[in-house]
Amino acid sequence: MHYTFHWLPAFRALPDMLWGALVTLEIALLSMLLGVFFAVVLAVASNSPYRALRGAAASWVELARNTPALFQIYMAYFGLGSLGIHLDSFVALLAGITFNNAGYLAETFRGGLRAVPATQMRAARSLGMGQVQAFRLVVMPQMFRIVFYPLTNQMVWAILMTSLGVVVGLNSDLTGVTQELNVRSFRTFEYFALAAVIYYLLAKLVTVSARLMAWRLFRY
């Protein structure tokens, strides 16, 4: 082995990489917010009386969970592109991850909803609360606790999935920035090792802050 490590250029590039990390975090957060929104839509649609709506929701969930995230992002960029719909890299990546998040989260929410006993709804209704009020005040807070950890897992997963943006030409996120540095210098190991450390810290940041939040939120 005759490789000489050159860490200095990698550390010099650290500010650029951290800016990239910020973009990574931005995409992950947006994809989670959108993912939660679509997951709720999917959960509602899968309980709808219309067959077509149920079918569409089921297909979304099935595809999102049983095909590689890479393909989903590819389809958003090149797939739609060949149909004449041209998204830029950022939007295509966001769409792909959102699609994936929504599929997983829809199942998480469905499970969470089932885990709150129906008797809770009944007890709330017996006190004179309306359906929506009972759901909001009694069922949802309990469901939120049940889905909280799966939700943070998905957030970590979303951060890691953003690295796939490189296949659709995204060069502003952490992996994109790292890849650009890499092709200029061929210091692959150093740059990607540093990027891996940053990904690791981002993921840890999410799990640790989630744990703190849970400790504050769930006192029961």
Binding site: P117, T119, Q120, R122, A123, A124, R125, S126, L127, G128, M129, G130, Q133, L137, V138, P141, Q142, R145, F218, R219, Y220
Partner: protein, 241 residues
């Protein structure tokens, strides 16, 4: 002022569980409903506050037809408190918050008013020391008393009890029955579905014996429990006493 049940039938799918029940409970009365499992007692309670729809007949609460279209059930339920066998505490709220929730959100009371009501009702059932505790830290008997306080906080005119001691350890039954005794001594109108025959005998003005979806006997406890006439009632009482 009464709960007036007129020839009510109720089925779950093809299974008819209530087969034509007629009974009136006047304001101030305590009526106990006894009978074997699956005799339709609990289902009838759920029908009274509209938690279950009925197939035919009518239930009038102070003249309001519970199952008529256009009846505001949320409003009606404010005057009918119900306590379930599984106490159904809201686990994410403290004891105090459990009791405050409906007065605040349904009756629109201020936080201070709701808290005052909750503290009063919780003290009444002997839980003044447990206000800030979460239900998971309470015994079954305490949770059940909290559920009673939660229903009372809405100042209901009627209280329905659905086998409220059946899921409790034997040593915890007494404290819940004491709470119910207290309510009946204060003149609360109550329909009590129960397996506690001695309790039914002691607190009730009337006892109704349910069998296979019908009322077989109804009358003062001295008659229905003390001197039953129907063979089904005699058999049932023999099996539980």
């Amino acid at each position: 002022m009464s709960i007036d049940i007129q020839d009510v039938h109720k089925s779950f799918g093809s299974l008819e569980v209530v087969k034509g029940v007629t009974m009136t409970v006047e304001k101030g009365e305590v009526v106990s409903v006894i009978g074997g499992s699956g005799s339709g007692k609990s289902t009838l309670l759920m029908c009274i506050n509209g938690l279950e729809p009925i197939n035919s007949g009518r239930i009038l609460v102070d003249g309001t037809d519970v199952h008529a279209r256009g009846t505001d059930l949320n409003r009606l339920r404010q005057k009918i408190g119900i306590v379930f066998q599984q106490w159904n505490a809201f686990p994410h709220l403290t004891v105090l918050e459990n009791v405050m929730l409906a007065p605040r959100k349904v009756l629109g009371k201020s936080k201070a008013e709701a808290e005052a009501i909750a503290v009063e009702k919780l003290s009444h059932v002997g839980l003044a020391e447990k206000l800030k505790v979460y239900p998971s830290k309470l015994s079954g008997g305490q949770q059940q008393r909290m559920a009673i306080a939660r229903a009372l906080a809405m100042s209901p005119d009627y209280m329905l009890f659905d086998e409220v001691t059946s899921a409790l350890d034997p040593q915890l039954v007494g404290e819940v029955l004491d709470t119910m005794r207290l309510l009946s001594s204060e003149g609360m109108t109550m329909i009590v579905v129960t397996h506690e025959i001695a309790f039914a005998r002691e607190v009730s003005n009337r006892v109704a014996f349910f069998h296979k979806g019908r009322i077989h006997e109804i009358g003062p406890p001295s008659q229905v429990i003390g001197n039953p006439q129907q063979p089904e009632t005699i058999d049932f009482l023999k099996s539980v006493l």
